[in-house]
């Protein structure tokens, strides 16, 4: 007896609710862009400069008292948040973020020392576990490098899939990627989770992962297009997704299993990072089943691989996805 997440034979029609699913994706992307533009991302110091301090104390944290202690130092906008880790209820950890100071590249020792003295007056057992300071000069460059990295990754993918498949596939795959990345950014804007360099790494992994899924479906589609030359494109797609569904779900499940372990047990330092990945895996799996192939269907594919007549496949180009 085997554990099966998906029945052996499925003949689900993944296009039956195409208007609904694809429409939902389009709406989600638009909402994400809107959220990003209106609320913006909660950029970490990597991207906007400033200082973060991670404090650890033996007594319970009193954020209000901390705030009152730091206020007289006149450091501008200081945000103090307590770190909650369900796996470690004994932690008394806070993250303090100080804005980049006017005309200073990175924060001076005296500022850090002043903050330490002020906080130790509140709680003598308090220690600084981590102090990070990034100057405005570097943070600007980091944003640029990050954006370039994401664009470069997408460009590389576009070219690779174009070489291995048809250009329609490559457009479909990249559309799915843009979909995944934008929705992830939208969720980060909505929940105002700290967005730093590590999140960019997570985004790029999402790019890789989502692609992994999409490529597997496309690979099967390519094979079936050769096998069933007379079948309608839409039917071939359904068949291909059904055939690979069991694998898609299995892999997503094992990956999610690993990520969930990391999310709950890996400590709060990388929780944001892991959260982005979990979202990416879920959205990526969805997009490879519901987004990428719809675009390919919309664009149409050359069906007869033995001849060079390119116009033949375009009879499907008008099908409304």
């Amino acid at each position: 007896m085997r554990l099966k997440l998906v029945p052996d034979e499925t003949t689900w029609d993944f296009f039956r609710h195409a208007r609904l699913t694809f429409g939902a994706s389009v709406v989600a992307v638009i909402v994400s862009v809107f959220l990003f533009l209106s609320m913006g991302l909660n950029f970490g110091i990597d991207f906007r400069g400033g200082t973060t301090i991670r404090t650890d104390a033996e007594q319970a944290v009193d954020v209000g008292a901390y705030r009152d202690a730091i206020a007289p130092l006149g450091l501008g906008d200081v945000s103090i948040t307590q770190v909650f880790d369900p796996a470690r209820p004994d932690l008394n950890v806070t993250q303090i973020r100080i804005e980049a100071q006017e005309g200073v590249e990175s924060v001076s020792e005296t500022t850090v020392a002043a903050v330490r003295d002020a906080l130790q007056a509140v709680d003598p057992s308090l220690t600084f576990q981590e102090v990070s300071s990034v100057g405005p000069k570097v943070s600007g460059e980091l944003i640029k490098a990050a954006v370039y990295a994401v664009l470069a990754a997408m460009g590389a993918v576009l070219v690779y899939i174009w070489l291995r498949f048809e250009w329609q596939f490559s457009v479909g795959a990249v559309a799915a990627l843009v979909h995944d990345v934008l929705i992830t950014i939208g969720v980060f804007s909505l929940l105002q989770i700290k967005f730093d360099l590590a999140i960019i790494a997570a985004l790029l992994t999402i790019v890789g992962y989502s692609l992994n899924d999409t490529v597997v479906v496309f690979d099967r589609l390519r094979e079936n297009l050769r096998k069933y030359k007379k079948m309608e494109l839409r039917e071939v797609m359904n068949l291909s997704v059904n055939e690979t569904l069991s694998r898609t779900v299995m892999t997503s499940f094992t990956t999610l299993l690993a990520l969930l372990a990391l999310y709950f047990l890996g400590g709060d330092v990388i929780r944001g990072f892991v959260f982005a990945m979990i979202m990416g895996v879920v959205i990526g799996t969805y997009s490879s089943v519901f987004v990428a192939k719809n675009i390919v269907l919309f664009l149409g594919v050359k069906r007869d691989w033995s001849k060079t007549d390119a116009s033949k496949g375009n009879q499907y180009a008008n099908i409304d996805a």
Partner: protein, 553 residues
């Protein structure tokens, strides 16, 4: 396909064994680390029974390279510094004045008297009293320029001389600025390395980044402040003739002079000649010591040319004061009582013992050629690192167990084979990481956990395919063969695309992003290898032994 030739089997098993062999030292981390430290100490000439015992704790013929733990796991300090390359232009140009003066004096008949003007840093401006002679003056100064010895600047000269009215303006030529930048960066890296080595921490990273930046990572140091105190001080020691003392810091010191504050008395300023008599570059040694009053001080000794300059100057200027300047502050300004021929001396200020020791270290390691600004600094406490390692370990184990159980439940015997491959896979990732001396960071651990999740993907693809092939009622051997064959293109395409993103992350990323890219990339390589070769070999061996009539995947 079910007949794998013997040589292939040997290569597959050999590669796996090699990977595991290189991974093994990490299982005995502290013992191997002690061994490596002891070996280094013994090579350095140290000898003690404890060292020998530590060395013997790990056999020398086994691999002993370990996965380096990144700062976020071990604790330590990280600094990104920018080097003020223009500082060097300024000091180069300042040092040029005596030569320019002499060259123009030789032309006195045509250029008249000369006078150094106040000018922007990195620029020497000399006014001549006879403006008609400007062409001759420019020519005379131009004759001082030397050809540049560098790969790019062939045929160029090091000085750019132009005229502005009655002024001769001298700057470094563009080619010379480039060549100077290169030298400055090399010197800066070398001096930072020497200073960090003086405090003797393990495996510091000192790297040039881009045109004018240096990345410094020192594990195990208490804080970035400590590290900054060590490398942030330029430690430029110079000896200047004193022109006068003043209480007014904003006073104009005059063309060829500078005004520096006193180290002790904030009200007191010295006007000094800009060009030093001798600089700290000509020191051969500096040691902490005590002066005649028993106060902490630093003893120094010049090299031959420094000793001659120092000796000559003191012989000619007995009775006049003489300033010892460190990084633009006057430490002391004693009056020269006697000719000092031996080239050694003592600096006494109001030092504590720690300060004098630190100053001696800095002087010995040499001055930084240019000032540094810190753009980024991070300190990670060792406890946080340990917490992260512990949490990462638990997460790894749970993820591992979950995936193993799930695979066994889904694919039975084949799932167990895939699980063995997965364990080998993680072992090989560590082996590769150790082999290339990569650094494991917290995102790196995340990369490994993600690999655990994704590594089964290739096997899942194959197994699902075998299931499908079995449905079309082929024999088990044929189904397995077709399964592997037909799943291959999907595996290759899917992993190459992920690998591409890992490569881009590595090339464009920095710090934590890179650590993640390394483990992700290596994980893809090993997981494809184990899926296509290792599990296949296991399946084939199993088929040969059992020759099953039917299989269930």
């Amino acid at each position: 396909m079910l007949n794998i030739p013997l040589w292939k089997r040997v290569v597959i098993v050999g590669l796996v064994a090699l990977g595991l062999l290189f991974a093994m030292p990490n299982a005995f981390y502290s013992r191997v680390e002690g061994h490596n430290d002891a070996v280094a100490a013994i090579e350095g000439g140290a000898e003690s029974p404890e060292l020998t015992a530590m060395e013997g704790a790990w056999p020398g013929w086994l691999p002993s390279s370990l996965v380096n733990l990144g700062l976020d796991l071990r604790g330590g300090a990280h600094l990104l510094a920018e080097v003020h390359l223009e500082d060097v232009y300024a000091s180069r140009i300042d040092a040029l004045w005596p030569e320019v003066r002499d060259a123009l004096r030789d032309q006195r008949a045509t250029v008249g008297t000369i006078r150094q003007q106040n000018s922007a840093p990195g620029e020497l401006r000399v006014r001549i009293s006879n403006p008609e002679g400007i062409a001759a003056a420019v020519q005379a100064v131009q004759a001082l320029a030397q050809p540049i010895v560098s790969l790019t600047g062939v045929g160029e000269r090091d000085l750019a001389v132009r005229s502005e009215g009655a002024d001769v303006v001298v700057t470094l030529s563009e080619a010379e600025q480039l060549a100077t930048d290169q030298r400055t960066m090399q010197q800066t890296l070398e001096i930072i390395r020497r200073r960090v080595d003086e405090v003797g921490t393990r495996e510091p990273t000192i790297q040039r980044q881009g045109n004018d930046r240096v990345l410094i990572q020192v594990p195990g140091i208490g804080s970035a402040e400590e590290l900054k105190a060590l490398i942030g001080t330029t430690a430029q020691l110079t000896f200047h003739p004193v022109v006068s003392q003043t209480r007014d810091g904003s006073q104009d010191p005059g063309g060829r002079n500078v005004i520096y504050p006193d180290l002790e008395d904030p009200e007191l300023f010295y006007i000094l000649e800009r060009t030093p008599v001798v600089t700290g570059e000509e020191l051969t040694d500096a040691q902490p010591s005590f002066d005649q009053n028993g106060l902490p001080a630093v003893n120094f000794r010049f090299n031959v040319s420094g000793a001659r300059k120092f000796g000559d100057y003191t012989a000619e200027n007995i009775g006049s004061p003489f300033a010892i300047v460190l990084d633009g502050e006057v430490i002391s300004a004693p009056v020269i009582r006697d000719h000092i021929p031996g080239g050694s001396g003592i600096i006494s200020g109001n030092f504590t013992v720690e300060e004098s020791t630190q100053l001696a270290v800095l002087l010995r390691a040499g001055a930084l050629p240019a000032e540094l600004t810190f753009l980024e600094e991070r300190t990670i406490g060792p406890e946080l690192g340990q917490d992260s390692i512990d949490a990462g370990k638990i997460a790894c184990i749970v993820a591992f167990a979950g995936v193993l159980v799930f695979m066994a439940l889904s694919y039975g015997w084949f799932g167990i084979l895939a699980n063995i491959a997965l364990i080998l896979n993680v072992g090989m990732i560590f082996g590769l990481l150790s082999m290339i001396g990569a650094t494991l960071t917290l995102p790196g651990i995340a990369g490994i956990v993600l690999t655990i999740g994704m590594a089964v993907d290739a096997n899942v693809l194959i197994f699902e395919r075998i299931r499908e092939e079995l449905k079309s009622a082929k024999g088990p051997a044929r189904a397995i063969e077709l399964g592997y064959e037909r799943a291959q293109s999907a595996i290759v395409d899917a992993n190459i695309t992920t690998f591409l993103t890992a490569v881009i992350l590595f090339v464009m990323g920095s710090g934590p992003v890179r650590g993640f890219a390394v483990t992700l990339g290596l994980g893809i390589l090993t997981s494809v290898f184990t899926a296509i070769f290792v599990t296949r070999l296991m399946v084939v061996i199993w088929m040969e032994r059992r020759r099953p009539k039917t299989i269930e995947v």
